[in-house]
């Protein structure tokens, strides 16, 4: 029983169920999370089993979802808010950056907001506009928030529970195009012994170049590493997992060995996470670098129409092209 094969979406659903079971103060709230089970069915069946006081269908107002969750947090609840799509988080932006993020700081530690804000994010599903965005930099730039993202079912299952158990407000980004990808999930491993929430992880060891990615791009980079291996080049792939705080220790260690580093994300490159990561890797690994840190990202355009998103999104070839360029310096 311990290990089952689940989709990433089902792993999240199972993790949420476990959190509801373990702590009566956990409440799930969002648009369509109840009867419908969410537009991606991540909360499927939870209202049926835990009731409409624990799994709350809210009015259609994102600022309201987050703002009322602040009040519930002050009251002692642990709200898990679902924002239906990345592009719809902005009405709640003020509540997130001005209230959620600052409450602990301005109260000098007297108020905790142990809230999780779940956001399906990123492209690759052929969606209409506002449904494919990668807003992580906005939140990672805001002190007081923590930002994490999962890339596989096992992490999805564990990390969502860790985020809920955390006393921090956590923006939990779910790579929506990976919801249907399957993987083994150990359902019985105790949370206390799990890999830390805010730690990156080497997901493929290699010696020739370091590739840093997170969320939906981890799969892309692993595929790129497989392809590179066929050409005789061993890429080390690190899943960053936590975007705020960043855990770059393993990346530094890796780059000092490989001398080459490529950062990959879907979000636009300009002032994206990759910019910060490139700066830090350069500061820490300056004498080890054989070439500048390169970034493979979405372009600095609004997210384009679905029929051209494949060209917008970093893919295997663009990752390998960047790796090649680190060798051509």
């Amino acid at each position: 029983m311990a290990t089952e094969t689940l989709t990433l979406g089902k792993a999240l659903n199972t993790g949420l169920r476990k959190a509801l079971e373990n702590d009566p103060k956990v409440v799930i709230m969002g648009e369509d999370v109840g009867k419908l089970g969410g537009v991606f069915r991540i909360t499927d069946g939870l209202q049926k089993d835990f009731g409409d006081q624990r799994v709350i269908d809210t009015p259609l107002a994102e600022s309201g979802i987050i703002g009322t969750a602040v009040g519930l947090s002050i009251r002692g609840f642990r709200p898990v808010c679902e924002i239906q799509f990345d592009g719809f988080v902005y009405p709640a932006y003020d509540q997130i950056v001005s209230q959620v993020a600052k409450m602990h700081y301005r109260s000098q530690g007297k108020v905790r907001i142990p809230m999780v804000i779940r956001i399906p994010y990123g492209g690759g599903i052929g969606a209409v506009e506002h449904h494919s965005e990668s807003p992580e930099a906005y939140f990672a730039h805001t002190a007081g928030l923590k930002v994490v993202t999962c890339a596989n079912p096992q992490d999805a299952y564990v990390m969502v529970q860790q985020a809920i158990a955390s006393d921090d407000p956590v923006v939990f980004l779910e790579p929506k195009r990976r919801y249907w990808e399957k993987g083994p999930v150990d359902l019985d491993a105790p949370l206390s012994a799990a890999y830390p929430l805010h730690a990156s992880r080497v997901v493929r060891a290699g010696t020739d170049a370091t590739v840093l990615a997170y969320g939906p791009m981890v799969r892309t980079c692993l595929d790129a590493a497989t392809a590179a291996a066929e050409d005789g080049r061993e890429l080390e792939v690190i899943d960053l997992r936590s975007l705020s705080p960043l855990d770059l220790g393993p990346a530094y260690e890796s780059v000092r060995r490989t001398g080459r580093c490529v950062v990959v994300h879907e979000a636009p490159g300009n002032l994206g996470l990759g910019s910060e990561i490139a700066a830090r890797v350069t500061e820490e690994c300056f004498y080890s670098l054989e070439s500048p840190v390169l970034r493979v990202t979405g372009y600095d355009t609004p997210y384009p129409a679905a029929r051209v998103e494949e060209e917008y999104l970093p893919d295997l070839d663009r990752v390998l092209d960047a790796v090649d360029r680190t060798f051509g310096w």
């Binding site: 409440v27 006081q53 809210t58 009015p59 107002a61 600022s63 309201g64 987050i66 703002g67 009322t68 969750a69 602040v70 009040g71 519930l72 947090s73 002050i74 009251r75 002692g76 609840f77 709200p79 009405p91 003020d94 509540q95 001005s98 209230q99 600052k102 409450m103 602990h104 700081y105 301005r106 109260s107 000098q108 530690g109 007297k110 108020v111 905790r112 002190a143 007081g144 923590k146 006393d167 921090d168 705080p245 960043l246």
Partner: protein, 392 residues
């Protein structure tokens, strides 16, 4: 505009808008129990037929007067401290004492309040030391108190944001099963006329309504959002907004401490009994500036201020107490002396507030710290230490 439209007269000329004068006096719908002249009105009927009245002992009447005088005096002291450079900013409540004392005294111990940044009078009535918010305005902290300890949330500066927090908190009260009885809990959310234009306030109305939250929306309509008059926020009396959201609304004379108390107590009790939210529009006037950074002479005329001066909340209470022989000059003198002593005490403690150590800026960003911030703190500390012993 179509013929027969209520906005058009039969001669096709646009009807004159409701006169400013009528709006600015609060209109006949105003719930009032004490006239500006200090005449007591036995009871007043609200728009939904509720009969509002109060039954205070003489001691309680005198207590309300003392509250009004004290909060005004402490407020004046804070304004003076700002003028002398001891506070960075102050948002004065001058003119709004009755709305705040009336509603604040209507709260029961178990009730929770969500203030803006001007509810110094409510804070005082909660039994909280008036020094508490002054760290925020002096710039030595950011208003860091525990809302649950004082049943009084931290001041909220982003306009209207706290109404959603209050709504969520009230939903939590309901979820905790703390409504439906006489000793149930209720929540009050303070905001102003300008805030009624905010999305968050309107979302709070929607949420409180559909979740039947035990919440009183207490809007102090002080006629101005910094420089913008009420007409820039609304075409209808604010209390009527409640109708569209499906809960009762009432307009009360916000310069009448008795009526403010009566309507708030009634609304809170309805909330704690599980009858859901309501909106109170406390019709009042901001006698001073928006904050000490503002110059109201640029946007309002002296005669308007004078007209409101005649409706002063303290003067009318004093006239009532005097006429009814509930209090005499010696009582008023004692209250004045108490107010003076408390303001001196406040001043002394404000002046004694130390600046925080610079390194404390890194504290409390996260409940359990952060390795990145720990590194920055260490770097900053080393940097500061590099100046030690230098002629810097």
């Amino acid at each position: 505009m179509a013929k027969g439209d209520p906005g058009v007269t039969t001669r096709g000329r646009r009807a004159a808008p409701r006169s400013k004068r009528a709006t600015r006096t609060g209109g006949p719908e105003l719930v009032q129990l004490l006239t500006p002249e200090g005449e007591r009105i036995e009871s007043a009927v609200g728009p939904d037929g509720t009969d509002y009245r109060v039954d205070f002992t003489d001691e309680e009447y005198r207590g309300l007067y003392r509250d009004l005088v004290l909060v005004r005096k402490l407020d004046a002291e804070a304004t003076a401290l700002q003028r002398q450079g001891e506070l960075g900013l102050w948002a004065s409540l001058l003119g709004q004492e009755a709305a705040q004392v009336g509603s604040g005294r209507a709260l029961r111990t178990q009730d929770m309040a969500f203030p803006t940044y001007r509810e110094h009078g409510v804070l005082y009535c909660r039994g909280i030391d008036p020094i508490m918010p002054l760290g925020l305005f002096r710039g030595v902290d950011q208003g860091g108190w525990d809302p649950n300890e004082f049943k009084f949330n931290m001041y909220t500066i982003v306009i209207g944001a706290q109404t959603l927090h209050a709504t969520g908190y009230a939903m939590g009260v309901h979820m905790d099963g703390k409504t439906g009885t006489d000793d149930g809990e209720a929540v009050i959310a303070y905001f102003g006329d300008g805030a009624t234009s905010q999305g968050d306030v309107n979302e709070a109305f929607v949420w409180a309504s559909v979740f039947n939250a035990p919440l009183v929306f207490f809007c102090q309509n002080n006629q101005y959002a910094i420089s913008e008059p009420l007409e820039r926020q609304t075409r209808v009396p604010l209390y009527q907004r409640a109708n569209g959201f499906g809960f009762p609304g009432v307009r009360v004379d916000g310069n009448d401490v008795l009526a403010s108390y009566a309507v708030t107590r009634h609304a809170l009790d309805n909330a704690r009994l599980g009858q859901g939210p309501s909106l109170i529009e406390a019709y009042t006037y901001r006698m001073g500036a928006h904050t000490t950074s503002d110059d109201p002479t640029r946007y309002r005329i002296a005669s308007e201020v004078e007209a409101w001066q005649a409706k002063d909340p303290i003067a009318r209470m004093k006239a009532f107490l005097t006429k009814q022989q509930i209090a005499d000059e010696s009582f008023f003198a004692v209250v004045d002396e108490q107010a003076r002593a408390e303001s001196v005490h406040l001043r002394e403690r404000v002046l004694a507030m130390p600046d925080p150590a610079p390194v404390t800026m890194f504290d409390h960003v996260y409940p359990h710290g952060s390795p990145e911030l720990d590194a920055q703190r260490a770097q900053f500390t080393t940097y500061l230490e590099s100046f030690e012993g230098s002629a810097h």
